[in-house]
């Protein structure tokens, strides 16, 4: 027996909103979803007129919905933004082909300019070449570190003022949880922020317009709007730990529907007691990216790759950074330790 839309009381409801429990028809759901993103953007003053904004586009559902909604709201409410899609090509044979094709179609569908930046131009190495050198077991260290910085490097190259990413409420809750589990107080304090300000030359401010949007609604928005997206996952090694956190979160949610927003709320309202040691945030002396060490993680990894010492940067080798910075040769013992690769 069909349920009626609780908003217009005319059409057949197509979903029950996890946030409010309301049953809405397609049209009323689209409107509610878009208006909430607009409210989020307005309340947090994420953008200023005239800014150029890069939308991180992977071809996945979150970024596809983000691109669609940003384009729509920019026109509906005259944000005055200069929007652009930015995609990163890691250089993994076969893996990005489908998702990059999707992004290229999105470019046509949304009439937004698209820039694809490759690892090759950003780092001088494709992921395939990295895997060849470091083995499958260690590649995700590179994946994670390089991916985090790729957008910044790309955005600087393209001279955009801001980047927005498709992180949704479920992602933020999951990150809060992971930082608690890992005892990462510094990240725990930062991870719920809806936007970051520029911290040095190497970093472009970022924001998350979908921060309060539930994954279920994003998926259904994409489904009912028939948006063109692609299911992506790192083929080299999906992050198992994150997977467990997500499963746990979904289990919690099935028992208590407000779990996601409750966890975000906890994260937002934590305050760290005075006297807790925090890593000092400096900048990388080579590329300007935020780093607590003299060299940022990706510069260390790159140095290792370029010197044929792939293990550099995988373990704790901070002692060696000074040597690297001053281009000093390593001792034979140090070299040996960094060369062996266990596949």
């Amino acid at each position: 027996m069909p349920v009626q839309c609780s908003s217009c009381r005319e059409k057949r409801a197509v979903l029950k909103r996890p946030k409010t429990g309301h049953s809405l028809c397609k049209e009323c759901f689209f409107w509610a979803f878009e208006e909430e993103v607009h409210q989020t953007i307005k309340a947090a003053e994420l953008f200023k007129p005239g800014e150029s904004v890069g939308i991180a586009a992977s071809g996945g559902k979150d970024s596809t919905v983000l691109a669609h909604v940003m384009k729509l709201l920019n026109e509906r409410y005259n944000y005055g933004l200069d929007l652009m899609l930015i995609s990163v090509d890691e250089g993994i044979t076969g893996y990005r082909d489908d998702s990059l094709e999707t992004v290229k179609r999105n470019q046509q569908q949304y009439e937004l300019p698209l820039k694809i930046v490759s690892y090759e131009e950003l780092y001088g190495w494709t992921m395939d070449a990295i895997v060849k050198q470091v083995g499958l077991k260690n590649n995700c260290t590179f994946c994670g570190v390089f991916r985090r910085q790729a957008l910044d490097r790309g955005a600087i190259m393209l001279k955009v003022d801001k980047i927005c990413t498709g992180h949704n409420a479920d992602d933020v809750a999951e990150t809060v949880l992971m930082n608690v589990l890992r005892g990462d107080i510094a990240r725990l304090r930062r991870c719920t922020a809806i936007s970051t300000t520029s911290e040095g030359d190497g970093v472009v401010p970022r924001c998350k317009p979908l921060k309060y949007a539930y994954e279920k609604e994003i998926v259904l928005y994409a489904y009912f709007k028939k948006l063109d997206y692609f299911s992506t996952e790192c083929i080299y090694s999906p992050n198992a730990y994150r997977g467990h956190a997500r499963t746990f979160l979904k289990d919690l949610e099935s028992i208590r529907s407000s779990s996601i927003i409750d966890i975000i709320h906890s994260g937002e309202n934590l305050s760290v007691r005075d006297g807790v040691k925090m890593p000092v945030q400096g900048t990388c002396s080579r590329c300007g990216y935020i780093s607590s060490q003299a060299l940022c993680k990706s510069c260390v990894l790159l140095e290792g790759l370029n010197r044929g010492l792939p293990k550099l940067g995988i373990g704790k080798h901070h002692r060696l950074h000074d040597k690297l910075l001053s281009q000093q040769p390593l001792t034979e013992k140090e070299e040996r330790k960094l060369k062996s690769v266990d596949f």
Partner: protein, 115 residues
């Protein structure tokens, strides 16, 4: 992504003709259903109408290849998998108690990273 296409199949007196669409990432899809996204099946007739609870058991026995825990948990789908019945959220349709009709189209969408 394509949606339900009803009316494609003839009514059958032998049981229910159903369409399933599975939207999972390629890895999970490979493990669970040999990478086949769309399934047209005929359920055997029985004295009482089929409900979703029985259907999930049937899917587990007849369609799933490996790693059924990626799809089912207890007697329901694994949390994080969305279910649409004729393009409406199953939470509006009674979930496990929904009684299937001939030519129903059931869509399963995974929102999990590993799924």
């Amino acid at each position: 992504m394509h949606t339900c296409n009803l009316g494609k199949y003839q009514f059958s007196i032998f049981g229910y003709r159903l369409i399933f669409l599975f939207f999972f990432n390629s890895r999970a899809s490979e493990l669970l259903f040999d990478g086949v996204k769309e399934h047209q099946v005929t359920l055997p007739g029985q004295s009482d109408p089929w409900d979703m609870k029985q259907l999930l058991v049937w899917i587990q026995r007849n369609l799933l290849k490996e790693r059924p825990e990626l799809f089912v948990q207890g007697e329901s789908v694994r949390p994080g998998i969305l279910v649409l019945i004729n393009d409406a959220d199953w939470e509006l349709m009674g979930e496990l108690d929904y009684q299937l009709q001939d030519q129903d189209c059931i869509v399963f969408i995974s929102t999990l990273h590993g799924g």
